[in-house]
């Protein structure tokens, strides 16, 4: 099967307009006959569900949390990018497009990225209209700041809770439609399978997590907006419930997975402090605007940070990347931190952290100004570590964060299964091998508010005459039988190890061999170990209780059974990409200075993977990337 990205014709800047001008429409009278399933209520899911419902489609919205407002988009802190050029510092759609393409290490599609930049300004307008209280200048106009990887100010923010405020805007739009009965909400429901009829996505099987009941839901199209799977590393910045199950089960039904090994490791997380730990808390990247990152010049330094004089500190980002300094992109900053930590210069009780120091900024701007910009982050730091970061540097460390990979989608955000769309972090699009800060909220919102309404309608225009589908159709019955069999299998093992045990073991394997740096040897080893771990899982897992009731352990076990398969594909994907790019650093491919060495001749493509069946190797289907508007340069931040 050849992959067709369906990029519209014409010059880059006109592609999206061309698409919108030519997309098929659905008569308002017909829209209410068409049903849409949206799984996930984060920014992409809520935005899509609300927008499609406003248009008149009948929408069913699903999430596993107890309220749509709690999707993990809520936790994004720093901000959202938009090429508004409010600061008159030379920003433009093209420049934002270029920064994003370069930030992604030339491994994303030009047309998608341009559309992202193009729709960015509109998103700020939409969010402000919804009442999102973005930061304002004293004259009443919107304020913004810089983020990693760029030299202009294009990041809009609502203190350190931009994700929460944007999500509340989308959630409120969703609740408005729920009140208007155009959306039916199914909270505490987890999608466990995708149902295909005649090769098209026509429904899902879900489990009601409060009662254990298995339900069948049919529709004319299914939209997955289920977020990323960075939690596969167990210790990550993601919420405990984040998972890959929905996209993985869609993958096993025929949707290709693209670039699953590209997981962003975020440089400003709090360091791990013990084995009991369940997650790593992220401190916003915006802190790097004013915080300076350093480690002591002497290895295994015992002195307190404030006792180490200026000339005995190594501001390694400023030293290595003078043009971008502390604002170097996430992959570069994370790797530079790992390099220093591995070389023995790490700080903190476990020697696994670096300092993020605000003393200079406080001296120059005053404590009040810093408090106004980052007060809640400093408060959060205090809550977790019991340390006052106004008087001594924070300790930060890299942590698994955002999945650049996900379901393969074309320009319309449709997967290789007709009628199945993937939005936001659940798809692979737009970010390439590295995501620039403040682009995740943007992509999720743009996919949900501005892309899906056109592309989903374009698809539904061809489904107006589709037969009304009964959820009693044989395909639904078969899917339900498989779901029940899988749940039964997990419960029947009745072994001696908990689901968390497997998750932690898998996470450590991935950190060590498919984390910040990878090697052929390590990846081959990891694949072997993952296979063994999977066998062990099905022999020794213990899940108490039954499937016909609320059962948190059963939920976890189901997600981990999927993670154990995703992990193998991640390693496989990393193994075949014999180059270093963005978040993917293969030790065999680096410059003498230790920078990533890309290979555009051989690897300028998206790795899409096709499921071949249980216990069979997945098939790699490359989608070549064509760059007509940018030159593939060596990515330098020096």
């Amino acid at each position: 099967m050849e992959l067709n990205a369906k990029i519209p014709p014409g010059p880059l800047k006109d592609k999206w307009s061309f698409y919108k001008d030519h997309a098929r429409l659905v008569n308002p009278a017909n829209r209410k006959k068409l049903e849409v399933i949206v799984v996930g209520t984060g920014l992409a899911g809520s935005a899509a569900a609300a927008s499609l419902a406003e248009m008149g489609y009948k929408v069913k919205s699903f999430c596993f949390q107890d309220s749509a407002r709690r999707a993990h988009s809520v936790a994004a802190q720093g901000g959202v990018n938009a090429a508004k050029n409010y600061k008159n510092d030379g920003d433009s759609v093209y420049r934002m497009f270029y920064d994003t393409i370069k930030g992604g290490d030339f491994r994303s599609r030009e047309a998608n990225v341009y559309r992202l930049a193009e729709c960015s300004a509109q998103l700020i307008d939409q969010a402000v209209a919804q009442g999102v209280p973005f930061g304002r200048e004293y004259g009443g106009y919107l304020n913004n700041r810089s983020f990693g990887g760029v030299q202009v100010s294009r990041t809009f923010y609502a203190r350190g809770q931009t994700g929460q405020q944007l999500l509340l805007g989308a959630y409120q739009a969703l609740m408005r439609q729920a009140a208007a009965k155009t959306v039916t909400l199914y909270t505490r429901h987890e999608m466990l399978d995708l149902v295909l009829v005649d090769g098209k996505a026509r429904g899902i099987i879900v489990r009601n997590l409060d009662t254990g009941e298995i339900e069948r839901h049919s529709a004319n199209t299914v939209i997955l907006a289920t977020g990323g799977f960075g939690k596969i590393y167990y210790l990550s910045t993601l919420a405990m419930g984040c998972n890959a199950s929905a996209i993985w089960r869609a993958h096993k039904k025929g949707a290709f997975m693209a670039c699953p090994s590209w997981t962003q490791v975020h440089p400003t997380s709090l360091p791990q402090s013990g084995d009991y730990q369940s997650k790593l808390t992220l401190m916003s990247e915006s802190l790097r605007n004013d915080g300076r990152i350093w480690v002591p010049l002497k290895p295994e330094e015992k002195r307190k940070p404030n006792d180490i004089p200026e000339d005995e500190r190594d501001y390694y980002l400023e030293r290595r990347y003078p043009a971008f300094g502390n604002l170097a992109p996430r992959d570069i900053s994370s790797r530079a931190a790992k390099e220093r930590i591995d070389a023995g210069f790490g700080v903190g009780p476990q020697l696994n952290a670096v300092y993020l120091d605000f003393s200079k900024a406080i001296k120059e701007q005053g404590k009040e100004k810093i408090k106004e910009k980052y007060g809640n982050l400093f408060a959060m730091y205090r809550k977790i570590t019991d340390t006052d970061a106004y008087s001594e540097p924070m300790m930060i460390s890299p942590a698994a964060h955002f999945s650049m990979g996900g379901l393969w989608v074309d320009y319309e955000l449709m997967t290789t299964i007709p009628g199945l769309f993937a939005l936001g972090e659940a798809n692979f699009a737009d970010h390439g091998a590295n995501r620039l800060g403040a682009n995740s909220l943007l992509q999720a919102c743009v996919d949900g508010y501005f892309v899906a309404p056109y592309t989903v309608s374009n698809y539904l225009a061809g489904e107006i005459h589709a037969e009304k589908l009964d959820a009693d159709a044989q395909e639904f019955i078969d899917a339900e039988v498989r779901v029940r069999a899988h749940l039964g299998k997990l419960l029947a093992i009745n072994g001696t190890k908990t689901a968390d045990h497997y998750h932690k073991t898998l996470g450590k394997l991935l950190y060590d061999y498919c984390g910040l740096s990878r090697s052929r040897e390590g990846l081959v080893y990891a694949i072997k170990e993952i296979k063994k771990l999977r066998e062990d899982f099905y022999e020794h897992l213990k899940v108490p209780g039954t499937e016909e009731e609320m059962n948190g352990e059963l939920e976890k076990a189901g997600r981990i059974s999927d993670y154990l398969e995703v992990a193998e594909l991640m390693c496989q994907d990393a193994l075949t990409r014999e180059e270093s790019c963005g978040a993917h650093f293969r030790e065999e491919y680096q410059t003498p200075e230790g920078e990533a060495l890309r290979n555009d001749e051989a690897f300028c493509f998206v790795s899409a993977w096709q499921w071949q069946g249980e216990d069979k190797e997945e098939r790699l289907v490359p989608e070549p990337l064509h760059f007509e508007n940018v030159e593939l340069t060596v990515r330098s931040y020096k």
Binding site: D66, V74, A75, I124, Q130, A173, M240, T496, P544, E553
Partner: protein
């Protein structure tokens, strides 16, 4: 350190619940409260018992999903903190800790420490939004909003909807939650237009959901993880009275 726990166990909304004693021997002070609960659950599963069901997700104090009464206080002994950010260093070796679900008639227990907070969603459905469709919003800088006004709206918008305000209130009032949304939107020009209609329907929905009335004890503000001010309630009352008078 050693910790004794008395945890509320309840199979479902219809069954009676009771406090059950548990003991944990190796609690590390740096653990979060939820990590301590994970450790307990690991122990329970391996001994063949059902683990304790509790709500949690982001574990960084922002999703609003976690929440339990700890020694009688919503989210535990520290003011303005979610349960996920409470650490065991706040307790002493040998302490006995009572862990119960959030209280409130409108928050029925689902199982163990999990409660049903969907009443909050229905309050938002009653008008906690700006009625704007996707796609054609005007230029964002077309409506200047003063820095102070935007910050003040943010202070109200910061509510995470955890329900601690209800759980700690002797009347189980949802006034702080509802007022925060009403104030957030009323303070911005975009939300102001609908504010009269909004306050009436949201307050009415609070009554339908069986939340109690606010009697100004201000307990909600003390426990609120986001430190949402009770002045929001004053604002809501003012908006409500104005709307009633002008209706």
């Amino acid at each position: 350190m050693k910790i004794n726990l008395k945890i509320w166990r309840q199979t479902d909304a219809g069954s009676p619940g009771r406090l059950v004693d548990y003991e944990l021997d190796h609690v590390i002070p740096h653990m979060s409260f939820l990590e301590m609960m994970d450790t307990l659950n690991e122990q329970l599963i391996l001994s063949g018992e059902r683990p304790v069901e509790f709500d949690h997700d982001c574990r960084e104090g922002i999703c609003g999903q976690c929440g339990m009464m700890i020694n009688g206080r919503a989210h535990g002994p520290i003011p303005h903190l979610t349960t996920c950010q409470l650490h065991m260093r706040e307790f002493k070796d040998g302490d006995t800790i009572y862990v119960e679900p959030f209280r409130g008639k409108a928050f029925p227990v689902k199982r163990d420490l999990r409660v049903d907070r969907s009443a909050f969603d229905r309050i938002i459905m009653a008008g906690g939004f700006v009625s704007v469709n996707t796609g054609q919003a005007p230029e964002a800088n077309g409506i200047p909003i003063s820095h102070e006004q935007a910050e003040s709206a943010f202070d109200s918008a910061a509510c995470i909807g955890c329900g601690a305000c209800v759980a700690t209130c002797k009347n189980s009032s949802a006034a702080l939650f509802t007022a925060a949304k009403i104030a957030h939107l009323a303070k911005l020009p975009q939300g102001k237009i609908e504010s009269r209609k909004r306050v009436l329907s949201m307050v009415e929905q609070m009554d339908i959901e069986a939340f109690g009335h606010c009697t100004n004890t201000e307990a909600c503000e003390v426990e609120c993880p986001q430190d949402i001010s009770v002045l929001n309630i004053a604002r809501m009352n003012w908006e409500y009275t104005l709307s009633k008078v002008l209706k």
